[in-house]
């Protein structure tokens, strides 16, 4: 019984949160990695793109709620998500025309594009705050829990309850669908194949008649869709504050690099690796250890490796380890 209690506790505080956080990171990292594969720079504006898209989605959600439109058991935000994606896509494509295309034509060094993306980050950052302010915004509606703790305890007779937030479950489902669609697109459609070809070998792809501007446009469209989806899921699951999305930048980059920049499969693996490490390094295992050891003994300390204030130090450390021992990432991405 104690062992079961311990496992439920682990599920509740480590596995479930890490799964949903990992899905959000994976979606974000996929966007970063695709942009890196095609445009060959690390997009610092990615976090603020997420924030901007989420802000628009929240406005749409409020509008729908005011009209009395809801989605039943699902959050209304899902209905407003396409609006958020479309508006953000518009802005991102304008940015590409106005900012990035010039440097692409010039074949500027990647670091110049990175700096340009920092400028774009500022503008997106300010736009988001103009639109929706800096405060916490809650926009989740519908039932809060898929499985709630008291009901779980009553059904199983265990001391520990398992609660699964509806948004956490939704995150995982949406992420699986999005990733499935993405891989189908990359592997089975003509456009997707041309993207992979362009990513693998630009010159050869150009020789075989692939239109680079079209590939770039489609990359932005996909990356933005993934980013806004990730942002909205993150906002539903935690809460929306523009600054949090800047803070997501480091784990997202770490996930993409750990998996190998330019490698979509790696980005997903990286996202989950970062999420699970972050959650389990900052979780206090005191009670779990108490359950799993015989008798009523509990460890004196919290058995917490790091305080939650340092959770991004985990992604940083993983990043450093990867850079030290395998700079191309676990799944061989672009060259070091």
């Amino acid at each position: 019984m104690d062992v079961l209690n311990g496992l439920v506790l682990l599920m509740n505080f480590v596995v479930v949160p890490a799964l949903s956080y990992g899905s959000q990171l994976a979606l974000g990292a996929l966007g970063v990695t695709l942009i890196y594969g095609i445009l060959r720079f690390s997009n610092f504006a990615h976090g603020d793109t997420m924030a901007f898209g989420t802000g628009i989605t929240i406005l749409g959600t409020w509008g729908l709620q005011a009209w009395g439109v809801t989605l039943g058991i699902l959050p209304t935000a899902l209905l407003a998500l396409p609006l958020g994606i479309l508006v953000t896509m518009g802005i991102v494509l304008v940015t590409d025309r106005v900012v990035y295309r010039f440097y692409r034509r010039q074949r500027a060094r990647p670091v110049i594009l990175v700096i340009a993306s920092v400028g774009v980050m500022f503008i997106m950052n300010a736009l988001t705050r103009f639109i929706i302010g800096t405060d916490d915004r809650a926009f989740a509606d519908g039932p809060r829990f898929l499985v709630n703790a008291p009901a779980f305890k009553a059904a199983t007779g265990l001391d520990e309850g398992l609660s699964i937030k509806a948004t956490a479950a939704l995150t995982v489902v949406v992420a699986v669908i999005a990733v499935g669609l993405l891989f189908w697109f990359l592997n089975s459609t003509r456009t997707g194949k041309s993207m992979r070809a362009y990513s693998d070998n630009e010159d050869l792809a150009l020789l075989s008649g692939i239109n680079p501007e079209r590939v770039v446009t489609i990359t932005w469209i996909i990356a933005t869709t993934l980013a806004v989806t990730a942002g909205v899921l993150y906002g539903l699951d935690k809460s929306f504050r523009p600054f949090n999305y800047y803070a997501l930048l480091l784990p997202t980059f770490a996930a993409a690099i750990v998996g190998g920049l330019g490698n979509p499969l790696g980005a997903i693996a990286g996202g989950f690796l970062i999420a699970f490490s972050e959650v389990s390094f900052t979780y206090a295992f005191k009670k779990v250890v108490g359950y799993l050891t015989p008798g009523t003994w509990e460890p004196p300390g919290l058995v917490q490796l790091l305080s939650t204030d340092y959770k991004f130090a985990v992604s940083f450390t993983i990043l450093i380890i990867v850079l030290l021992f395998r700079p191309t990432g676990i799944f061989r991405g672009k060259s070091a």
């Binding site: 890196y36 720079f41 690390s42 610092f44 900012v99 010039f102 060094r109 990647p110 670091v111 110049i112 990175v114 700096i115 340009a116 920092v118 400028g119 774009v120 980050m121 500022f122 503008i123 950052n125 300010a126 736009l127 705050r129 103009f130 302010g133 800047y246 803070a247 930048l249 480091l250 980059f253 770490a254 690099i257 920049l261 300390g301 305080s307 204030d309 340092y310 991004f312 130090a313 992604s315 940083f316 990043l319 450093i320 850079l323 030290l324 700079p327 672009k334 060259s335 070091a336």
Partner: protein, 450 residues
């Protein structure tokens, strides 16, 4: 003939620099006349500190093409030095067990060093097991010493102290200039952090350095905010001694009151301006010293080598230059200069406020200064620092007041409130637009590299 042309170009560039500096000087003069000399000097002194940061970044970016996104971390680390050097030690906390904190840190560092040594000397499976064992053992030992000691320190008189304090070096030869010792120490702290990061991330893709520095910047700030035993965290560290006289002391001396009367001002204004002028003199000496040294460096064979590496790494490598090593060198030096600026700023403000270290203000603003001023040109960085810092302060004032006057005719209500609030984000927007415009249309900046 070509020599003539070169001389002519140098001449016209000097002219251009002189005119631009004069224009920026005019902005500050205008501020003094429309506002007050006191506020102008305040902005000026911070601009001097920003100029030193910009020089540090210019070394990394302008000389070597390295993109550092963690400047805020190096500045904050430098800012820790005045606390460590000149705040008196907290004997009560140290005696109660606080002395074990440095011991714990030493254990941690030794464990890492031991792991690195073992890693280099073993092979195969043994290596994996030995290194993991050393690291885990070291971590457990470190936490076993560290946690209880921190507990003791943070509960000792928490409302006033709750930290271990510093070395308490304040008086040297009877003068209150001990805190100046913190400036080189700040350089060393920043240089140490930069060495570790550079050792890991340099020599790989250029993006990796950017991301690694982003991470280290965030971590340094998080440590300063959360480790209360070190510098009281978000409770802030106040009363950091300073090498210049205090306004209050001046105002109380009758001699001073006589001087003020002779200048026809009241003693209070006169003393604040005098103190600001003291800081200005001190900072100017440092700034000019750094410019002189970097000009010497950039015009030496070493400087030519750095530029050769920046412009064509492959060619420089073919000539036998160790690119990664040079990059590490310049990265460490540049970060040390940022650390120096951080230490100077905290000394001037007399407080360490960890929550004030935002990437916007101390990383990206400095970047905009360097790029607008002219990357690769020291005077350009200084010019950029003065211009951009002035605009940063003024746009922060203008945005809200502009929005107030624009919305003056509106009914009070949530929409008006929202508009007025949002004006505060104008700074960010302006910075982004300026960065993009300069990068696109004038990538060499106001004062291009010669």
């Amino acid at each position: 003939m070509s020599q003539n042309r070169v001389a002519e170009r140098h001449g016209s560039q000097r002219m251009r620099a002189a005119v631009l500096f004069a224009l920026v000087g005019l902005l500050f003069l205008l501020e003094a006349l429309t506002g007050s000399w006191n506020t102008m000097l305040g902005i000026f002194n911070m601009a001097l500190v920003s100029a030193i940061m910009a020089l540090g970044v210019n070394m990394q970016w302008g000389y070597a093409g390295l993109f550092n996104v963690g400047i805020v971390g190096f500045v904050a680390l430098g800012g820790l030095a005045p606390v460590l050097i000149s705040i008196p030690p907290n004997h009560e906390a140290l005696a109660a067990g606080g002395w074990r904190i440095p011991v714990a840190l030493l254990v941690g560092v030794l464990a890492i060093i031991a792991a690195i040594l073992v890693y280099g000397r073993t092979r195969g499976r043994l290596r994996g097991i030995a290194v993991t064992a050393i690291l885990i053992g070291g971590f457990v030992l470190y936490r076993a010493i560290f946690d209880p000691a921190v507990e003791i320190v943070e509960t000792t008189n928490p409302s006033f102290a709750g930290n271990i304090g510093g070395l308490g070096i304040n008086r040297i030869f009877g003068l209150h200039v001990g805190v100046l010792l913190a400036w080189p120490v700040g350089m060393l702290l920043a240089a140490g952090a930069a060495w570790v990061i550079g050792k890991i991330a340099l020599g790989l893709r250029s993006d990796y350095l950017a991301i690694a520095t982003l991470g280290i910047g965030e971590i340094i700030i998080a440590v300063l905010k959360n480790e209360d035993w070190l510098a009281r965290g978000v409770k802030n560290m106040t009363n950091i001694p300073r090498p210049v006289p205090y306004e209050v002391d001046l105002q109380q001396s009758t001699y001073w009151q006589g001087w003020a009367a002779a200048f026809g001002t009241d003693p209070v204004t006169f003393s604040t301006i005098f103190v600001k002028l003291c800081w200005m003199a001190l900072f100017l000496v440092i700034l000019l010293g750094i410019i002189w040294l970097s000009e010497r460096a950039i015009n030496s064979p070493w400087g030519r080598m750095m530029r050769a590496i920046r412009d064509n790494e492959t060619a420089a490598e073919a000539m036998g230059k160790d690119v990664t090593r040079r990059h590490l060198q310049i990265f460490v030096i540049g970060s040390a200069v940022c650390g120096l600026a951080g230490a100077m700023m905290v000394t001037m403000n007399g407080v360490l406020v960890p929550s004030e270290y935002t990437p916007l203000r101390y990383t990206f603003l400095v970047w905009v200064m360097v790029i607008v001023g002219g990357s690769g040109n020291n005077w350009g960085s200084v010019l950029g620092a003065f211009l951009i810092y002035y605009l940063y302060i003024k746009v922060g004032d203008w945005g809200p007041s502009l929005m107030h006057s624009l919305t003056a005719g509106m009914q009070p209500g949530p929409i008006k409130d929202h508009l007025v609030d949002s004006a505060a984000h104008m700074r960010m927007m302006t910075l982004g637009v300026i960065l993009l415009l300069v990068l696109r249309f004038s990538p060499r900046g106001l004062l291009p590299e010669r």
